[in-house]
Symmetry: D2
Subunit: 226 residues, 4 copies
């Protein structure tokens, strides 16, 4: 697990774009792996649930789920079971992404299940206060993403540096074992450098890369200034 958590880390959330679905998802995962190999950066891909299996069987960089439901195995229909994404190849998961917010008690349950199954947890939050709350649950990462900047192309590391710094400070105080990622609007090498300079240990990103003309080039640019 320590290898998976190596920083600086770049987590690419595939979301549900057609550009990152099925065969396109596989291509994007392969491109991410090439960037990891060429640059030494710890690249992680988070495809949609049905794409975890084929991608995990094709690449060697870590594959994360985008979401895990707060359920145990049993009589549930259409829910995302940790054991199932794990067996399909996911070694970690985003939790509580801004586009899939969870109840506090459910976040707690899912983080505990990830710890038990030795999966990496990335708890997404929207501001300094909820980042502090998230850190008490003992996740591996907290990814701070002001919702108003998600998909905006305006990098949080530049637009609201005080949110990143404040998150870094309070999480260091509450739970020094939790690492901080920075999300929302990140797409260039400068954005990522700014995030690391503010104390983040990596980035969580999506549309800025997925919808780029050449996602591999965009990733190479992203990690060029580390």
């Amino acid at each position: 697990m320590n290898k998976i958590k190596r920083t600086p880390i770049v987590i690419l959330n595939f979301k549900t774009y057609l550009e990152s679905t099925g065969k396109n998802a596989l291509k994007l995962a392969v491109a991410s792996q090439l960037v990891a190999e060429e640059t030494g950066v710890n690249m992680v891909v988070a495809p949609q649930s049905p794409d975890i299996y084929p991608i995990s069987n094709e690449i060697t960089i870590p594959v994360f789920a985008q979401h895990i439901d707060a359920i145990n195995a049993g009589g549930h229909t259409g829910s995302t079971l940790l054991e199932c994404v794990n067996e399909a190849g996911a070694v970690g998961s985003l939790i509580n992404h801004s586009e899939n917010r969870m109840k506090l008690a459910d976040m707690d349950m899912v983080v505990k299940k990830t710890i038990e199954k030795q999966m990496v947890s990335v708890l997404c939050t929207n501001n300094i206060e909820t980042s502090a709350a998230a850190a008490t649950l003992n996740p591996d990462f907290v990814a701070i993403e002001p919702p108003e900047l998600i998909g905006s192309g305006i990098p949080v590391s530049k637009a609201e540096p005080e949110i990143v710094e404040g998150t870094v400070d309070i999480i260091h105080e509450i739970n020094p074992k939790t690492s901080i990622l920075c999300g929302a609007g990140i797409s260039t090498g400068e954005d990522m450098k700014a995030a690391l300079d503010l104390g983040a240990q990596g980035v969580l990103l999506a549309s800025g890369i997925i919808l780029a003309k050449d996602p591999k080039d965009a990733l190479l640019n992203l990690v060029s200034k580390i």
Copy 2:
């Protein structure tokens, strides 16, 4: 698509049991295919989302998703996109299962997407009134499952035959193109025969088979009296 909709049809909802996750899911799917080959019954399996790809690549009987979210491709995280389960191999989907109820407007959107993509839709309902409402949305199947009988081992076809008959009657009136399935508590050959005798064209089932000592035997028993 007509071949997929051939009746009598038996849809096996894998839910999120460990007995129907990952490698176990594949085994159950293979057993289902053997039963289809040996008996000529139209067997369909509905595994969890991450298991759709590996199962679809191994078997030739139809694979359905358990749920599809009411979204179009784009910036969503952790949601189930029709295009993604479809490319992974799903040719149909359960919709509005009792363990994953949907808003009416969302059901309408998902049924329309299945029609557009030529996927088979199975709209689950809880009583005669909601079955009538579901039929107006023009799904391929309505699966009537009184929630109190789901997982109970008490077959709806025996405990509440008037609900099945009432559903058959009203759907014939409102939308004769929609076929009726019968769910909840179904597990034996007698249960299934009773369902067909009441006018249903097939069954939707889960725990009665999945948790059986020998699921293949249980399936053979289920279809023995048709």
Copy 3:
């Protein structure tokens, strides 16, 4: 109950604007009553839950709830119980408003409870298909409101008359006892007249009146061409 359902009917959804909260809600309710008295139109007000009691005690025109949860009396916290809004003075309710969509099974349960308690039900829908589905549940009214026009100032009766006509036609076929209201973007006398001409028996409206400089004048204008 027949008196409450008299058409043409104008239902004013107070939503959660400060302009229609607390004392402001009471003022708006009194103004609505004056319009009813001056014009003979069947005016109904739907204030927020905490305002139902004081408003019901002050005016004589019908007061509706904005929403009712699909629960029976018992151990629920913060939910809206039909029996409670009813005892507070509500004689009907909006159900499944676009800003509070419900699951199909829940809509069915709430409509049945309104029938049992002789409260008037107004089922909100977004298109012709869901209007047909809603009508099978046997509500007193279906209020068709294309979500993209809500709060837009663009009246559905002019922008998408075919949706209103299609809804009128299909509901007449499926359930002639259900009356049709027209919502979304309605605010002037011409909008309302257009709605009635298309076969609607009334309108459901909100911001166009609530946020008007003089809500009473706006209401008088609204009903001026009937």
Copy 4:
């Protein structure tokens, strides 16, 4: 506000029982006030939303809401707006009750709104970890209620004292300004005394009192050993 927060505090959640709806709610509120007057205990009642106004106008002890939605004033239908329950007479609110769990970001928003409007916040939690998380949001109270004991008649203060103690310890560490309440299964004087002995500053209770043969007697018994 300090007066409202005086401890030991007893908060009676009326939930949605018929025994605590409408006229019955008013009776229960009056009985609670009598107990407050006779014993000096800080009694708070939390009735359903439509009952806040009539109860606030009849009694002088504090009235809380059972829930507040994470919205600002505007175009929402059927949601519970802080400004509205406040104007109706509520001076505080339960937040995130086990029967109405909220997303973390929403809890944060609602607590901030209560602070801004000088309302008292009672954040309900299910275990030590989520209590710690809740305390970082700076509520006035955290009410720890293991969900499996709610409505059980088995008092948390006896069945799982280590959960109460653990919550008291971690909240003292994370946010000493937050007081701790103890809920779930509390109904007798011994239960309440045990809770206070474990470091809680009050109790949150419901069915044990509401469904008692004589709620006033039950309340008198509850506070008899403080």
